[in-house]
Amino acid sequence: MTGAIADPSGPTVESTEVADLTPERLRDAYRWMVLSRTVDERCLSLQRQGRIGFYAPLAGQEAAQVGTALALKPEDWIFPAYREVAVALVRGTPLGRVFDQMIGNAFDTSKGRQMPNHFAWRDQHYVSASSPIGTQITQAVGAAMAAQRRRDGIVTVTFFGDGATSSNDFHAGLNLAGVFQTPTVFVCQNNQWAISLPREQQTRSATLAEKGSAYGIPGVVVDGNNLRAVYTAVSEARRRAVSGGGPTLIEALVYRFGPHSTSDDPRRYRTDQQVAAAKERDPIALLRAELIESGDWDAARDAQLLERLRAEVATAFEASEAAPPVDPASLFDDVFLTPTPRLEEERREFAEREPMGGPRP
């Protein structure tokens, strides 16, 4: 399995420490991956039915996300992009809270402020996600600088895609991290597509990981469909970071099986044959095969698991859908801790009209 980490250009990173991935933990990882795929499929269908808003699927990236999340400690900080449902689940977010956010109901901890997948869970150090590309990268470095100053012994981990490596904040963030040797793990999920732009048109660089060398940061390419490889690379990067060895850029090679989002039609820019070829290396199928081969799993248990997870997902979503809507009066909360006089004036004006309509008759 060590061959799963390949680094054609940059410094070599040893990758043999997978001893703590016991059969039990592998089954656990597999369960998270299947759950994530189940949530993903459900959300695509819910969006088509108009029951949730815009959704950005993660299918194909389950091993990259679950492998990373399992290699971290609860005290580490996550700076996600908007496709990291699996990370949120592994960090301990109950399914119901995920769906509350997707709907934006009264129980949503973000109070219905953001479109699906833009989660924020303070108790899990899962930082509020936004839609602009790459902005979380410099923030993760800043949080790592703060942790350094407090000598907290944690890492900050930021997720982004291949497209984000062209963003201003990728450059700024890696440069800062290199200069200050911050305990940061940069996880680039290279899913080969930035909406319609293929990876090879995003940059002339042979790999994305090699960009790290410009900033004095080790870069590793890892097979993102291989859970063990991802887990190993992130574990090593984490260990290096907390021992003062500085940041690491990990490029997890994956493939975005679905559309960029529910508003995207990938057939405009890629063929079904390309996608089918990529699905030959479906991370879930690969891990399932490994588990079955090692005698730790079988088809019957697999079918049971899928059935159980589908039921859990359906039940959780129904509960979230039945929850009360977000309170219209909360529109003005949290702009500032203490509202300005202008906001109070607007709140009063709003209170005098029908919340979802015009003035009261």
Partner: protein, 325 residues
């Protein structure tokens, strides 16, 4: 009380804030060893060390992005952008991130960040060391905007900004960094946000100004007094929150308003003030509201004094306003 220039008062404020709270730190370009290109951070590095006074690489988005990350983690960073003109690489971080974190996370992730930047013209700085673009920030929900015009306010508003749990854009009028001196209270001197400063009382017309334009507005009032026109001068101090009560009370008394800023006229903050007066003081107004502002051109180099409002142009507008009704 100590007699200080405005930039010295900023410096004293920074020292005070960092002594008060070990979570406060300063980051930016040339702020450490060099003490800042305007010397606003002088002495901080020596007193507080490289861990709390951080010389960053030349990247505004890096500075603000990192400051946000630090604040999310629990520190209270004060980020310096060397000139307001150079803030745009960080605009995405300020507008999309800093301003929205508290709101978008349902209050889970507030951003306790102060962004300091010298702004404004009159220093022969040409297009890129002169601009006054406070309106961009005042327009963005989730940001407070403070602009001192005196040394005492520079320290007092800065300390309020550092203690504010929300992001503050703190704009320093570099033209008067050393041109004005004044008595500044020692220690923990704070000036509350949202309370305009009455610079001069008057009955015939109100001159609204902030930052470096308060001086010329006061000069205009002096000149007008000699002509028998009694002009009130109100220094707004903070654009967000805005002291509408003081603004409206003044115009209810004088019936006339002249709004002064060095920023370009179109969508400048004067447009907002003018709208507030039209909406809420219409029946008190005896004459049309006048604006004395920078022009809708890029900021010029050789012609900067022609571009900027001054005592004369402000007094002229006030006379016209008083004659109108």
């Amino acid at each position: 009380m100590t007699e200080l220039t405005l930039v010295q008062a900023v410096n004293r404020g920074l020292h005070e804030a960092m002594r008060q709270d070990p979570e406060v730190l300063v980051l930016g370009e040339d702020v450490g060893v060099n003490g800042g290109v305007f010397r606003a951070t002088e002495g901080l590095y020596k007193e507080f060390g490289a861990d709390r006074v951080i010389d960053t690489p030349l990247s505004e988005t890096g500075i603000i992005g990192a400051a946000i990350g630090m604040a999310l983690y629990g520190l209270k960073p004060i980020a310096e952008i060397q000139f307001l003109d150079f803030i745009y690489p960080a605009f995405d971080q300020i507008v999309s991130e800093l301003a929205k974190f508290r709101y978008r996370s349902g209050g889970q992730y507030p951003c306790h960040v102060v962004v300091r930047a010298p702004y404004g013209g009159g220093v022969k700085g040409g297009l890129y060391h002169s601009q006054s673009t406070e309106a961009y920030f005042a327009h963005t929900a989730g940001l407070k905007v403070a602009i001192p015009s005196t040394p005492a306010d520079a320290k007092g508003l800065l300390l309020t900004a550092v203690h504010d749990p929300d992001p503050v854009i703190f704009l320093e009028p570099k033209r008067i960094y050393r041109a004005v001196t004044g008595e500044v209270p020692d220690g923990d001197h704070r000036v509350p946000f949202g309370q305009a400063r009455l610079v001069r009382e008057g009955n015939d017309v109100t001159l609204f100004a902030y930052g470096a334009m308060v001086g010329p507005a006061a000069e205009a009032a002096e000149a007008l007094a000699a002509e028998g026109i009694s002009a009130e001068v109100l220094d707004l101090r903070t654009l967000v929150p805005l002291d509408e009560r003081a603004i409206l009370a003044s115009v209810e008394k004088t019936g006339r308003a002249v709004i002064v800023h060095e920023a370009a006229r179109t969508c400048g903050f004067g447009a907002e003030l003018s709208a507030v007066l039209a909406e809420k003081a219409f029946y008190s107004l005896r004459a049309p509201v006048a604006r004395v502002t920078g022009y809708d051109t890029p900021f010029p180099y050789a012609l900067e004094q022609a571009y900027l409002p001054n005592g004369e142009t402000i007094a002229h507008a006030a006379r016209t306003t008083v004659r109108a009704g």
